[in-house]
């Protein structure tokens, strides 16, 4: 479905890249100078913070006082049971502008980790990566690339991967060139009350099991909230509930580098499910996302699926997807890319709009009962102004607006219970 998305975007992206190149050369030069002249205060702050991270013991609370600090080297923590606490997401700012060593702003490889009330700005790579750990709490953290959306911004803002029992709440991520909040290959996850803006993907739950995503606001991203399954990874994801979020006007041009999973997401996507299973989308306010308010798609539509590079046991079909009880408004009126524009015009006319939900049309041909997936594996859609089956498998030749195949319901998923409950 996204096949031609890149083409139209390319010209803009190329232009942007040229400007960005020139600017980044200047910036790099400035950055270099800046790092070379890092103030004595900043240098001793950085060295002290590194020392605190090295010396931390289980139970340690590292308090970072209010202030704006420039750091030139990525930080890391490898001790269980540590809390890092600032004075507020607008008061304690760790700026990595001019960073010379990465790869992240802060890398954590530890259990029972809490970080709260501070900001990490302008990291060259990912801002906060937590790689392997259980009982992770991120509370009141702001991640921001301060020059706005640019493909040279770091990829991920808040990035727990291979973690268990994860809470991300009351945080803000702005400007990530991939996903603002990205929870990957993890289990038992709550993402709530966050604000994500001007990222390629606002929130992305990938190859994760048991996630609740609620009370978030996603706007001005390329895609608001994504639930994806990628091939070749340690686990396939399933069981994500996306509810009571505000997902509106996610129409920023896709500024991810090609090849990144999210580079295939058309600008103007509200909630996107790709190749994931057991996803429930309900009670959200989803509005004015110009490609479609909800997109349900398979890995075939990303243009990365090939036999040599994808594990044979990978299942690219989204199964057991339930969309109901959302409040939709607008959207679908200006889809990204020539192919989707043509499709829209063909089915709904030049001035028409895609309906609230667009499905790319890929269903597992070996997994059908009377022409539909088995009852518990179906895509069930209620309370929308329509569904478009785009007929991706046949080059969008025979799209269908018939909603009958989607008139069904599915057993509801249980809420995610964090255990232990974090005490923030």
């Amino acid at each position: 479905m996204y096949a031609l998305v890149g083409r139209r975007g390319d010209i803009a992206v190329m232009r942007k890249t040229c400007t960005v190149l020139v600017t980044s050369l200047l910036l790099a030069a400035c950055g270099h100078q800046e790092s070379a002249t890092q103030s004595q205060n900043d240098a001793s702050f950085e060295s002290k913070l590194e020392q605190q991270l090295l010396d931390a013991k289980p139970g340690s609370v590292i308090t970072v006082p209010a202030g704006h600090y420039t750091l030139k080297r990525g930080l890391s923590l490898r001790t269980n049971g540590v809390t890092i606490r600032g004075a507020g997401m607008d008061k304690t700012v760790l700026s990595f502008k001019g960073q010379i060593v990465g790869p992240e702003g802060l890398l954590v490889n530890a259990d029972d980790f809490t970080i709260e009330n501070l900001a990490i700005e302008d990291t060259m790579g990912d801002a906060l990566k937590i790689n392997q750990g259980k009982n992770i709490t991120i509370h009141g953290v702001r991640i921001e690339w301060t020059d706005g959306p640019k493909s040279t911004n770091g990829a991920y803002g808040l990035y727990p991967v291979k973690t268990q029992n994860v809470l991300v709440e009351d945080s803000v991520v702005i400007g990530a060139s991939d996903a603002g909040i990205y929870v990957g290959q993890s289990n038992t996850i709550v993402v709530r009350r966050n604000r994500v803006e001007e990222n390629v993907a606002g929130i992305e739950i990938e190859n994760s099991v048991n996630a609740d995503v609620y009370d978030n606001t996603a706007t001005k991203n390329t895609g608001g909230i994504l639930v994806f399954n990628m091939p070749n990874l340690s686990q396939a994801g399933h069981a994500t509930r996306v509810f009571h979020n505000k997902v509106f006007a996610n129409n920023t041009g896709n500024f991810a580098k090609k090849g990144a999973a999210v580079a295939s997401v058309p600008a103007g996507s509200g909630v996107v499910v790709n190749s994931n299973d057991k996803v429930e989308i309900f009670d959200n306010d989803i509005a004015d996302n110009q490609t479609a308010n909800v997109i349900i798609s398979s890995y075939f539509s990303t243009n990365y699926y090939n036999k040599l590079g994808v594990a044979a046991d990978y299942n690219p079909y989204p199964k057991s997807i339930y969309v109901y009880g959302n409040r939709f408004k607008g959207g679908g009126d200006s889809p990204d890319g020539l192919e989707l524009k043509t499709l829209k015009a063909a089915v709904y006319g030049i001035n028409g709009s895609f309906p609230d939900v667009v499905w790319d049309g890929y269903a597992d041909p070996n997994h059908q009962v009377d022409g539909l997936p088995p009852a518990n594996d179906r895509i069930c859609i209620e309370d929308t102004n329509g569904v478009l089956n785009a007929d991706g498998p046949h080059g969008y030749k025979h799209p269908s607006t018939d909603t009958k195949p989607f008139q069904c319901s599915l057993p509801k998923l249980p809420p995610v219970a964090l255990n232990p409950e974090p005490n923030v």
């Binding site: 790579g125 991967v161 990957g184 091939p231 990144a260 040599l308």
Partner: protein
């Protein structure tokens, strides 16, 4: 422990050192706790009389293919207390006993074209002027840092030391260091770069081969890296044989029966063997089924089958801007469309691979990997 106390202890230790000491060096000191403030507190290698000298029982070694670190040269040594030895493994790091001290000194030859200064260093693969006996000739080289890996009761610990301006001793640098240096090639080409000494926590980034247990391990001392000859004081000998002979290693088979990685620069080795050896030592410590990069589905250690696991037509997982607009890690026959050489050619944090440990591009290494990808058969046919 305070600096003063260390000095006093060193002084106390110095008393019994009479004629028995090696070239006037006190015996190697294994510290089972804490962070001694100076490299000289360990008496493993010491700068004396214009030479970085190895103490008695300190055995130097080399790897078939080494990790690239901004063209630095490296002197690696190993020491063990009397009466204990490491146990051989065909695939993994040898099982070293408590008390083992491994050192790695990073240094550069002084460029012939420049008067000696604190910034200019030579970019060369020529090591002939580096040595004075088994040690390093300090008239010809500039020492940057010495990293110790110490096997204590609770496991390995990494301790970084940075050489002082006078090149007389290296001082503890747990939070690492950044030194602006300039590489000067034999053809006069100059390249400014920041030599980065990793902080103690970053040591773990590479040395924790398993990110669940988070236990540190040396990377180099594995059979396949060590299985080669070394020029010892008493002549050339295979390193596995030598380590066995001096009592540091048990259970090793004859060298011919032990695995052996290629030397990445060996013109007689196959392209495949050289490229795989290069990926193994530069990438395999993270890109293995238990390492930090097991989140990516890309494995690059020597045992990886040559299919999607090593990146053939594999879409990236979380490369972000590191894709460089490319779709697959390796596009057979098309190195310039492949992500791996793109990331090896970058020096931007967040894009570059390896993620840490270099600030310059290893041009010859990139050329090797590109040549290898160019020689791979197959096609990434996208399914719709």
């Amino acid at each position: 422990m305070s600096m003063k106390l260390w000095i006093r202890m060193t002084w106390l230790l110095a008393l019994p050192c009479l004629a028995a000491c090696h070239r006037g060096m006190e015996p190697v000191a294994f510290h089972d706790d804490g962070y001694p403030p100076a490299l000289s507190d360990w008496h493993v290698v010491e700068a004396r009389d214009g030479v970085l000298q190895l103490n008695q029982g300190v055995v130097p070694y080399e790897l078939n293919t080494p990790l690239f670190t901004d063209y630095a040269h490296k002197l690696r040594t190993i020491w063990m207390p009397k009466g204990v030895s490491a146990h051989y493994s065909a695939t993994d790091t040898f099982d070293f006993p408590v008390g083992t001290i491994i050192s790695k000194t990073f240094f550069y030859p002084i460029p012939a074209s420049e008067p000696r200064n604190a910034k200019d260093v030579a970019r060369t693969y020529d090591t002939r002027r580096d040595f004075a006996g088994q040690g390093l000739n300090l008239a010809n080289v500039h020492l940057v840092e010495t990293r110790l890996l110490v096997r204590r009761k609770n496991g390995w610990i990494a301790i970084p030391y940075v050489w002082n301006a006078d090149q007389t001793d290296a001082l503890l640098a747990r939070t690492g260091d950044v030194q602006p240096l300039r590489l000067i090639s034999e053809n006069g080409e100059r390249e400014d770069f920041n030599y980065v000494v990793p902080d103690q926590s970053q040591c773990v980034s590479c040395h924790a081969r398993d990110w669940t247990t988070r236990a540190l391990q040396p990377i180099g001392p594995k059979a396949r890296h060590l299985n080669r000859d070394y020029r010892y004081a008493d002549g050339d000998e295979n390193q596995l044989t030598h380590l066995t002979r001096v009592g540091y290693l048990t259970g090793a088979p004859a060298p011919a029966d032990a695995p052996r990685n290629a030397n990445w620069m060996d013109p007689h080795a196959s392209l495949d063997a050289r490229a795989r050896a290069y990926l193994d030592i530069n990438c395999g410590h993270c890109h293995n089924p238990k390492g930090a990069a097991n989140t990516t589905g890309l494995t690059l250690d020597i045992s990886t089958p040559k299919d999607r696991h090593i990146g053939i037509c594999k879409p990236p997982t979380a490369a972000g801007q590191g894709t460089g607009d490319h779709f697959f890690d390796i596009v057979p026959g098309h190195p310039d469309d492949s992500i791996i050489p793109y990331r090896l050619s970058s020096t931007q944090p967040g894009t570059m691979m390896p993620e840490i440990g270099r600030s310059t591009v290893h041009k010859e290494g990139v050329a090797l990997i590109k040549a290898w990808i160019a020689a791979q058969p197959g096609e990434c046919v996208v399914l719709h």
